[in-house]
């Protein structure tokens, strides 16, 4: 990394964080609202978790929303039946998503490419179906209700994240920062480098003695922990968990966010999530046919921006 490039990266990082920290202030004048920003953060984290596998390991999981949804149910069930504690619900959600990922990952790591994708979709749907059918626990199609995020009690003072949209946004931003830091840490570590090696040339990695299947399994599990965490945050955002969050169409949304923002970049999925969420929110208010436009967006991105927005920008900068 040259000095110039390093400085550029720091400036970019600073710009991103400045934008995120000041969001509740610059969003409303532009026609946005704080809850929208919170949603971008949560779904952006989910997209980044998917990209952990997709962009950095080269593994296409199209059923990742299952672990997202499991995280949401985990958080909701914890709040409902365990203890009215927000941090506990987050941990529970993360654990449920992660452990499910660990178990299922072990079953499917031998497959690759299209077959792997199909199997992840099918397994994801199994969880969707369980959430849909197991009404006594999950509430079935009506979803899990009757819980809400609790104020954070620090003894001396408490932060009301329930009714105060700004407080909740900053809480989510804090959680997002933690997760992003953890993700970045893993990606910079030797393990992360190995993941990229596997993505670039799996056979060569294998010849180098790298236990490819085990690495993929670990990457899969880690990404499920992250996305489970995102799912828990989603449950807190809505005060609700429902089967829709597990459906493969939700997975598809995460993947397109990652692709649209730029799979090769760490922050790409967050950008993709921002564009997708804001566009969807905007379009669905304007026209009933927003689904066609979103579908066209998918087609458009795939055909013309396979490297995503950040990829296109990067190419322009480097040219």
């Amino acid at each position: 990394m040259t000095g110039g490039e390093g400085a550029r990266k720091l400036i970019a990082l600073g710009a991103i964080w400045a934008a995120l920290l000041l969001a509740p202030y610059w969003m409303p004048p532009l026609g946005g609202y704080t809850a929208l920003g919170t949603r971008v953060l949560v779904l952006g984290l989910a997209a980044m978790s998917v990209n952990f596998l997709l962009g950095f390991t080269g593994v296409l999981s199209f059923g990742h929303a299952a672990y997202f949804g499991l995280g949401a149910y985990g958080a909701g069930l914890a709040l409902k039946f365990l203890a009215p504690s927000t941090p506990l619900s987050l941990i529970c959600g993360m654990l449920v998503g992660g452990i499910a990922g660990a178990i299922l990952g072990a079953l499917i790591v031998r497959r690759r490419g299209v077959y792997f994708a199909m199997v992840t979709i099918a397994f994801g749907q199994v969880f969707y179906y369980i959430a849909f059918q197991w009404s006594p626990v999950t509430g079935g199609d009506d979803g899990l209700r009757g819980f809400s995020r609790r104020p954070l009690d620090f003894g001396a003072f408490s932060i009301d994240i329930l009714s105060n949209a700004e407080s909740f946004y900053y809480f989510v931003l804090f959680c997002f920062a933690l997760a992003a830091a953890a993700m970045g840490f893993v990606l910079r570590s030797p393990f992360g480098r190995t993941m990229i090696a596997i993505r670039e040339n799996e056979r060569r990695a294998r010849f180098l003695g790298i236990p490819v299947e085990r690495h993929i399994w670990i990457a899969f599990t880690l990404s499920c922990f992250f996305i489970g965490f995102a799912g828990a945050l989603y449950a807190l955002l809505n005060n609700f968990a429902d089967p829709k969050g597990l459906h493969y169409s939700q997975s598809g949304d995460f993947v397109i966010m990652a692709v649209m923002g730029g799979m090769r970049s760490f922050w790409g999925p967050l950008l993709g999530a921002a564009v997708f969420v804001i566009l969807q929110d905007y379009l669905s208010s304007i026209t009933v046919n927003w689904m066609s436009f979103i579908g066209l967006l998918f087609v458009f991105v795939v055909l013309f921006f396979p490297r995503g927005l950040l990829g296109a920008i990067r190419r322009k900068v480097q040219a």
Binding site: Y33, A35, L36, D142, S163, A165, D242, S284, S285, M291
Partner: protein
């Protein structure tokens, strides 16, 4: 990953430009319209305009739009023009909650209507309760909305499942017999409806020969119908709705089951009857509102107005739900000369709807104790082909007032908590 050369690009660009232009036209038009107007009052409406409930949802919106046009023609609410802001919940709770926040925080709506999907309606109710916005649930039927989970700022227009069950139970028992078999959709609506019918049947002294729980979206009911036929009940009650209802009825008729067992149910909708082939339009049902009511004032005018906006088709109960929800706001706000949620919420208790809104022969009012609209049940039988009108597919035999079908306020489990 290498990307191949885009040899098609020149042609694509023009196509894309065309698409972008078309999209832009769709997008800018509303802004041009919104530019005028002085301090309008906004009513928000959230409904699943895409997804499986799109048809009833779109009908609700049409009804609400008619109401807004009519109230604006009469001077709006307290002299202010009324704007209806419609958002698509896409049958997804997250989106519904998001849109609720958007409508309340960003668009500053004074009132909110929604959702057809009970689960989403309840999630939205949590938001409106938190933000203290008056909210009318137009089409979500689950009992708890005006029961265990009732809220001071939430009122509901459509029937509860208990009301629906009570409206037909005695009739079916006396007319058809005591052995009932159920085909129940496996979600809250189905469970509570079947539970209420079950309780009524036991009270009357009948027996349940079986309860087939069918997953939502079941297309093939043959397995369940095989079992139902084997159980040999007096009457087969279909509690499924929408496309499930259509498929189930079609298969019942195809299998000839209706020749041996009577077919009935509770809630039936004109949308479903129209989606059926004529030979499958059978059974005794209850409608929440029906368009052909000879001798009842104002109904014909409403039907004519909706026909103009609905491609010549008559209004269904859904149109009426949307219409009534929106009109209620105008009526109560103009009467109380205020738009304060708390004041209006109190004023709506025992509020009676005038003839031009209730569009039914019986008294129609919002009950104070649980905020449920005491609307009538139209009991009758499906008709294969309309006599005078191709859409007259239901013969109404009896219109039972809401307070006769509804359990007492004390029995609903509702305990309203008003803010201090």
């Amino acid at each position: 990953m290498t990307t191949p050369p885009f040899s098609y690009r020149p042609d694509r660009r023009t196509v894309l430009k065309g698409t972008a232009a078309a999209g832009l036209v769709q997008v800018t038009a509303p802004f041009i319209i919104q530019a005028r107007g002085e301090a309008p009052l906004r009513i928000g409406m959230i409904d699943p305009l895409t997804g499986v409930y799109a048809a009833p949802a779109q009908n609700e919106v049409t009804g609400a739009k008619l109401a807004v046009d009519q109230m604006n023609a009469k001077g709006g609410i307290l002299g202010r023009p009324v704007e209806l802001l419609v958002e698509d919940s896409a049958n997804d709770v997250g989106t519904g909650v998001q849109k609720a926040r958007k409508l309340i925080e960003r668009d500053q709506v004074t009132f909110l209507i929604g959702d057809v999907n009970s689960g989403i309606a309840q999630a939205i109710a949590q938001v409106t309760n938190e933000k203290k916005v008056l909210h009318i649930v137009s089409g979500g039927h689950t009992d708890t909305i005006t029961g265990k989970d009732c809220k001071w700022n939430v009122y509901r227009v459509c029937n509860t499942t208990r009301m629906e069950a009570n409206s037909v139970s005695d009739l079916l028992f006396n007319k058809y017999g005591k052995k009932w078999h159920f085909v129940t959709p496996d979600y809250a609506f189905g469970h509570t409806l079947q539970g209420a019918l079950d309780a009524n049947l036991k009270r009357l002294g009948g027996t349940v020969t079986g309860n087939e729980l069918t997953p939502l979206g079941t297309t093939d009911f043959s397995a369940y119908l095989i079992k139902a036929r084997a159980a040999n009940p007096d009457v087969l009650l279909l509690l499924v709705q929408g496309s499930d209802m259509i498929n189930c009825l079609k298969q019942i008729v195809q299998f000839g089951i209706d020749k041996q067992i009577h077919v009935a149910g509770t809630q039936q909708e004109l949308e479903s009857l129209e989606g059926l082939p004529p030979e499958a339009r059978i059974g005794i049902w209850m409608f929440e509102w029906y368009w052909k009511q000879a001798g009842v004032p104002n109904v014909a005018e409403f039907v004519a107005e909706i026909r103009k906006r609905n491609g010549g088709k008559v209004p269904t109960a859904r149109h009426w739900f949307g219409y009534t929800s929106a009109m209620t706001f105008a009526l109560v706000a103009n009467r109380e000369k205020s738009v304060d949620s708390l004041q209006l919420a109190r004023a709506l208790g025992d509020f009676e709807l005038p003839p031009e809104v209730k569009l039914q022969p019986n008294k129609c009012y919002y009950r104070k104790g649980d905020h449920q609209l005491m609307t009538s049940a139209f009991i009758g039988e499906a008709v294969s082909n309309g006599k005078d009108d191709p859409e007259d597919l239901f013969r109404v035999d009896n219109v039972v007032p809401g307070d006769k079908t509804s359990p007492a306020e004390t029995e609903t489990g509702c305990a309203l908590q008003w803010p201090a």
